[in-house]
């Protein structure tokens, strides 16, 4: 009995390995880059214009009315994106929609950010540097401490790996005065010195309230914001920008996206329909006239454009053909009844995610089973009663099980296969 179990363990390990690697090899051989679509909004023709890079590296430019453009024509439609090219060709318009523009205005009034699902599923050591705001010098300098927030806000002097009690009690007291409930749930900041100025951190406390914490001239600044604790904040991203329109953005548990503005932390909800933060990449682009937001996954691309007050102006939607729906993707599904995914584009964490192939996979399973019956009972002339579990394994796991039980053949079991048979 144990020897039989041992063989089945070996077979299961084989199946596990095969279900991880065989689909991967298939993908390595036949996989193609999906079409890439970038949705932009032209202030010249006042409609969405689209750039599509096909899998064979040819790029198409077109709009939703069916006009197609050359690359130069396309760039002319988007002066806020391609102003450097247009300026080089001396065709940068002096006015767009009656607003005078030049390179420096465009630069001053533009801002963009890019948010990928993997940002939400990323590991992070919860230690943060607190920079100084409103310093005497122009450059931001690195402090010698990092902080953590458990039952107090602790500053660790990294030179000696000890706690700086003075700063710890200052900041803990300041947080308590502002009504902070320890510990922190989310600490979000932009911990880099490559930014024009420092806005510190936005911290969600145990009760769900959001606090703005920074240090101004070496003194703690802690302010409870008016952001509702009932919002269900899931993720905050902060990025300082010279425009000083918003500190950053936040995602809620119900996949709503808000900007946190400088106007007393008032939130602006972005008008995004069918956005799922766990699967979709979000691209935000502010130019002197519009806010253009696009979000997409491998199947769908959405475009949304708003005016400067974030009122919806126009929106668009485009379907794409994902790998699963191509011929090669269908063969893949028929061949492999399921896959085990250990890695994902949308998360840095490893997993053993079972991905069944659906109805197409049943075809492959039936073929495997027929092949197995033919080889075992017709070709090798084995008895039906020998190792019946093999049959079940092939029926359940298709090609993986077929390979496993044909390669790892059963022995002629005898009674001494029992370890305690002596």
């Amino acid at each position: 009995m144990p020897t039989k179990i041992s063989r089945y363990m070996f077979i299961l390990l084989f199946i596990l390995m095969a279900a991880v690697y065989l689909p991967e090899f298939y993908w390595k051989i036949f996989g193609r880059r999906p079409d890439y679509i970038a949705v932009q909004y032209s202030p010249i023709v006042r409609q969405f214009v689209i750039q599509r890079t096909l899998s064979y590296m040819k790029t198409e430019y077109f709009d939703l009315k069916g006009n197609s453009y050359s690359q130069i024509e396309f760039e002319k439609l988007l002066p806020f994106h391609y102003y450097l090219d247009l300026d080089k060709w001396n065709i940068l318009p002096e006015k767009v929609q009656n607003i005078p523009i030049d390179i420096s205005t465009i630069r001053k009034k533009s801002q963009h950010f890019f948010q990928r699902p993997v940002n939400l599923h990323d590991s992070s050591i919860q230690l943060f540097p607190l920079f100084g705001s409103e310093l005497d010098f122009a450059r931001i300098v690195l402090p010698d401490e990092v902080f953590r927030i458990n039952d107090r806000m602790e500053f660790i002097d990294v030179r000696k790996n000890i706690i700086n009690e003075g700063r710890t009690s200052d900041f803990t007291a300041a947080l308590k005065n502002a009504g902070f409930a320890f510990p922190a749930k989310i600490i979000a900041g932009n911990p880099t010195i490559r930014k024009p100025f420092d806005e510190g951190y936005f911290i969600v406390d145990a009760a769900g309230s959001v606090f703005h914490v920074k240090t101004i001239k070496n003194k703690p600044f802690c302010k409870k914001t008016a952001i509702s604790p009932d919002l269900g904040i899931r993720y905050i991203s902060i990025a300082e920008d010279q425009r000083r329109e918003f500190y950053g953005y936040l995602f809620t548990n119900s996949d709503e996206v808000y900007l946190i503005t400088y106007d007393n932390y008032k939130l602006i909800r972005l008008p995004l329909k069918d956005f799922t933060a766990d699967e979709m990449t979000l691209r935000f682009f502010a130019d002197p006239l519009y806010r253009v937001i696009s979000y997409f996954n491998s199947e769908k691309t959405y475009g949304v454009v708003t005016d400067l007050k974030y009122n919806l102006v126009d929106s668009c939607f485009m379907d794409m053909v994902p790998f699963e729906k191509t011929m090669i993707g269908r063969i893949d599904k028929g061949l492999f009844p399921f896959k085990i995914e250990t890695e994902s584009e949308n998360s840095i964490y490893k997993s053993f995610r079972l991905r069944p192939s659906g109805n197409l996979g049943l075809i492959g399973m039936a073929v495997s089973l027929l092949l197995f019956v033919f080889i075992k009972y017709v070709y090798r002339r084995e008895k039906l009663s020998d190792n019946p579990l093999d049959l079940v394994i092939v029926a359940l796991t298709g090609i993986y099980g077929l390979l496993a039980v044909l390669v790892i053949r059963p022995e002629i079991w005898d009674k001494s296969a029992d370890p305690f048979g002596y």
Binding site: T3, S6, F10, F352
Partner: protein, 222 residues
């Protein structure tokens, strides 16, 4: 009976164990000096932020040592037995071969596990000397799969060595190699935290797999 078997195992693995301990002391010492050097030559805050934000695995030198140790341990234990088919001699002992095999890998894996626990703790102590608890915990989570790969490497090497047909050896190498490389693939820290239990199950399955080659060896199956 078991006492004599235990003594036989000890004779085989003692030099390996000594060598493994020396290598690990050397690695731990090197890591200690490396961190100290890093923090002396650079600004400590830059190093800390590099570790936290850019996910520098400053303890990467440890990565393949447990796996290498596991493979060598398996070879030192089963290599001498398998040359000239000596292992078949022990089939004349009044002890079923499966029980004996399980005893042998039980002793081997037990000793290897205990030594690795010490090394695991040692590495974390070195890290804790210079870094905050958050970084130590992150290190513990990141290097755990590396140590698990050592156990997996040991059990698979044992099975591969006991197996005498090249066909099965190659299959075992492919299966074990594929599964072990899952435990060793990462770009940053803590990527394996959700699959530790799955790895442990795989290791137990790899351990049980040795019974099959053992049985085949005694039966003389091709």
């Amino acid at each position: 009976m078991y006492k004599s078997l235990l003594y036989k195992e000890w004779l085989k693995i003692r030099y390996f164990l000594l060598g493994y301990c020396i290598i690990f002391l050397f690695i731990a010492g090197y890591l200690f000096l490396d961190i100290r050097h890093m923090l002396t030559m650079g600004k400590p805050i830059e190093i800390w932020l590099y570790i936290i934000q850019y996910k520098m695995l400053f303890y990467r030198i440890v990565k393949f040592i447990p796996l290498l140790g596991g493979i060598l341990m398996g070879l030192t234990q089963f290599g001498p037995e398998m040359t000239k088919n000596r292992f078949r001699l022990s089939f004349h002992l009044p002890l079923p071969e499966i029980k004996m095999l399980l005893f042998t890998i039980g002793v081997g894996s037990g000793v290897f596990l205990i030594i690795n626990l010490f090394f695991y703790g040692g590495i974390l102590l070195v890290v804790a000397k210079y870094f905050a608890s958050e970084i130590v915990i992150s290190t513990a989570k990141t290097i755990l799969p590396w140590f698990l790969s050592g156990m997996a490497g040991y059990f698979s090497t044992a099975a591969i060595t006991v197996e005498h047909s090249w066909k099965y050896r190659i299959i075992l190498i492919l299966v074990a190699g594929g599964l072990i490389s899952l435990m060793l693939s990462e770009r940053g820290y803590e990527e394996h935290v959700f699959v530790i239990w799955q790895y442990i199950i795989i290791i137990v399955m790899l351990a049980v797999t040795i019974i099959f080659p053992g049985y085949r060896l005694r039966k003389g199956s091709k």
